[in-house]
């Protein structure tokens, strides 16, 4: 399947945070041809392993690199039923300005088409017309009378936006849930490339749940894998009129390679090295604190994980018309594959360098450190 077709399939699948099951099925299917083992964690994360070509005589197990994207999309949830209309809250952070007049699917006993309505402009005061309509004043209408609605819809049923992906000119596409399913397209692209490359590290391709509600999926899958390097792939704001230039990456011209306290400097350096060696365009993006991505959660799992972050340029984030350039996704996939293949024993030692140094300086402390590492490893 082409990257475009796969993105369309993922984008049009429905799965708000905590309800990612249909996307999960697509991911298991997509990972299968390119990986050796696939498992699903209790939280619902998909973990696929592509084993590296490490010397079988080697006594230590191969180091692990994790690359991930998240499966969940932001959505809505029924909170109450009032005169046949559905009140709702949100799961994750929608751009509330664009909710009015959206078409939606209510995932009740059966999927129900609906629309988001509010009071018409004619009856609003001038002051009300100036304002964004707050969520408690919006409702979903599925066109079913009150007595029937209660049979079909329960409190807590998820609601997703109904939106089909469309192609724009210049290899651009627009649709919902590109955040962050487009990253999963790049992860699969990376696995396809990797099939033609030699890599000594084990590669863990992960599709995580529940990023939008608190990075919960990544916390738990990373704990299970305990990788030596972890790379998050997530969307960031593309350059557009009226955008601030800070961290904005042009659409169709590569990606952002994030830097900041969330990012391990050696991982960042390696990503740049590999990109430069293969003439893959990028821009360095700077985050002084939390990156708002799974990288932030993964970094502090277990004894700490060297983390990297790839920014995928995207316009109109958290709306139903998120827009991206397909070339970027393919490029990111290629960079990820080349990065995984470039990870060697030397880089592993470099990452661990500080620990080895301290062992030399202080043998006693070093022995303790060594023991701890061994235990943490497996």
């Amino acid at each position: 399947m082409s990257a475009k077709d796969f993105l369309q399939k993922l984008s049009e699948a429905t799965g708000i945070s905590g309800y990612e099951h249909s996307v999960r099925e697509l991911m298991v299917e997509a990972f299968r041809p390119y990986t050796d083992e696939i498992s699903v964690t209790p939280a619902g994360n998909v973990i696929a392993i592509k084993r590296g070509t490490r010397d079988p005589k080697s006594k230590t197990p191969a180091p692990k690199v994790l690359i991930e994207g998240h499966m969940d999309e932001i959505g809505l949830m029924v909170t109450d039923i009032e005169r046949g209309l559905l009140r709702f809250t949100q799961v994750g952070g929608f751009d509330v300005r664009v909710l009015l007049a959206q078409e939606v699917i209510v995932h009740g006993k059966q999927p129900l088409r609906g629309i988001i309505g509010s009071r018409p402009p004619h009856v609003l005061t001038d002051a009300e017309r100036e304002k964004v309509i707050p969520m408690p004043d919006l409702f979903v209408d599925v066109g079913v009378p009150e007595d029937k609605v209660r049979d079909l819809v329960s409190i807590g049923d998820p609601i997703t936006l109904a939106r089909q992906m469309i192609s724009l000119k210049g290899n651009l596409v627009a649709g919902k849930a590109f955040d962050d399913r487009c990253a999963l397209v790049s992860v699969v692209e990376a696995l396809k490339h990797l099939a033609t490359l030699k890599h000594s590290w084990d590669v863990y391709a992960v599709a995580n749940v529940q990023e939008e509600v608190g990075l919960y999926g990544a916390m738990t899958s990373t704990f299970k894998i305990n990788p030596d390097v972890a790379i998050a792939l997530d969307v960031s704001h593309a350059d557009q009129p009226n955008s601030t230039e800070v961290n904005a990456v042009p659409l169709g011209d590569g990606m952002g390679l994030a830097m900041g306290p969330n990012i391990h400097p050696l991982v960042h350096k390696k990503l740049i090295e590999v990109a430069n060696a293969n003439e893959i365009p990028f821009k360095v993006t700077a985050y002084a604190g939390a990156t708002g991505t799974n990288a932030w959660a993964m970094q502090v799992v277990q004894a700490g994980i060297p983390t990297g972050l790839i920014d995928i340029p995207l316009r109109y984030m958290h709306t139903s018309v998120e827009t991206l350039n397909l070339n970027d996704l393919e490029r990111i996939g290629r960079l990820m594959a080349l990065f995984c293949a470039a990870l060697d024993e030397k880089f592993f030692k470099e990452l661990r360098g500080d620990q080895i140094e301290s062992e030399k300086e202080n043998p006693k402390k070093g022995r303790e450190g060594g023991r701890r590492r061994k235990k943490a490893k497996r």
């Binding site: 939280a43 409190i155 807590g156 704990f223 299970k224």
Partner: protein, 327 residues
């Protein structure tokens, strides 16, 4: 009795002993971990497949902590957990040593409609600040007696002593379970689900259920919320800290339906529970919540319906009595 016991977050040693006395004959083993969580372990009965189920109700209550004692003996304080200033005026608090104080506010800097914690103080009736029986760092809980209104009950600490009571009663009524059960009475929920974080790491459960209070939408001019007192325990779908695991939620609904136990579905837009910490423990734990609908949460007068609490016990007993399927 457990509703009136002293136990602000971080100071659960008294309530812990009260609960320990209640449960020691109901469990195979009772222990206290490093943070102070009280963990009652009940072994599984019968053949496999069994699951390790962690049930959590928190012992701590919201309260205040003394930050400064002035020369006249008035105590300035900070909140322990989510204390709303406007609920304190006219109320009292009680310290571990039994001393009771009244909440007062600066008259010049406060209005009747707007109250701020930093413009308030506690008056313990001292003539001056010398030899105060209270020290900086001492914690107090609200002080109100438990009141039985017949069908409904009011107490200062329904959050979450009603959950503790439901959990104790569940252990009492659950004669045998195919599952290994860890009933955990957690500390420090109100200051960031800290007790559940460590106890879940220690217990390593396969499934986790928190028992806690939830808000209602059944009072005059209330916010929209489809939960009411007296319509049964609420099975959580979502709150502001977590989404209940779909399989756990469905298993609880099935248990209620099969046993004709009334229940409600809950989407809470403010607040969360111990389940939020348990679900992200280690590799992740499927987690859900059985909630007791409660009016006036985080005030000194929290109200619950007795039938809701009893039906919560029935629901948990039904859920734990059978194999748990998580699809």
């Amino acid at each position: 009795m457990i509703a009136e016991a002293y136990g602000p977050s971080g100071h659960e040693h008294i309530i812990r002993e009260v609960i320990r006395d209640e449960i020691k004959s109901l469990a195979d083993e009772v222990r206290v971990d490093a943070l102070g969580n009280l963990i009652a372990h009940r072994k599984a009965v019968g053949a496999t497949p069994r699951k390790k189920v962690m049930l959590a109700a928190h012992m701590d209550e919201i309260g205040v902590m003394v930050t400064h004692i002035d020369e006249k003996g008035f105590l300035r304080f900070a909140s322990l957990g989510g204390v709303f200033a406007n609920t304190l005026v006219g109320h009292r608090c009680r310290f571990e040593n039994g001393i009771i104080g009244a909440f007062g506010q600066e008259k010049k800097n406060s209005s009747r409609t707007e109250t701020q914690l930093d413009k308030m103080f506690i008056d313990i009736g001292a003539r001056d600040g010398k030899n105060s029986p209270i020290n900086v760092g001492d914690a107090a809980g609200f002080w109100r007696e438990f009141t039985d209104l017949g069908d409904r009950m009011i107490a200062k600490t329904m959050d979450d002593r009603i959950g503790c009571a439901v959990l104790i009663e569940t252990l009492r009524q659950l004669k045998k379970s195919p599952h290994e059960i860890f009933a955990v009475f957690t500390v420090q929920e109100e200051v960031g689900v800290r007790g559940a974080t460590t106890s879940a790491f220690g217990v390593q459960p396969d499934v986790a259920i928190a028992i806690d209070v939830t808000d209602t939408g059944d009072t005059p001019e209330s916010n929209t919320m489809a939960v009411a007192l007296g319509k049964g325990p609420a099975i959580k779908v979502k709150d502001s800290g977590m989404l209940a695991h779909r399989g756990v939620k469905t298993a609880l609904i099935t248990a209620a339906q099969e046993n004709k136990i009334p229940y409600q579905l809950e989407v809470l837009t403010g607040g969360s529970t111990d389940a939020m910490a348990m679900q992200v423990s280690r590799e992740g734990v499927p987690a859900g919540v059985v909630s007791i609908p409660t009016r006036y949460v985080h005030t000194p007068s929290e109200m619950v319906d007795f039938d809701d609490a009893q039906n919560a016990v029935k629901l948990l007993v039904a859920f734990l009595g059978k194999p748990i399927k998580l699809d």
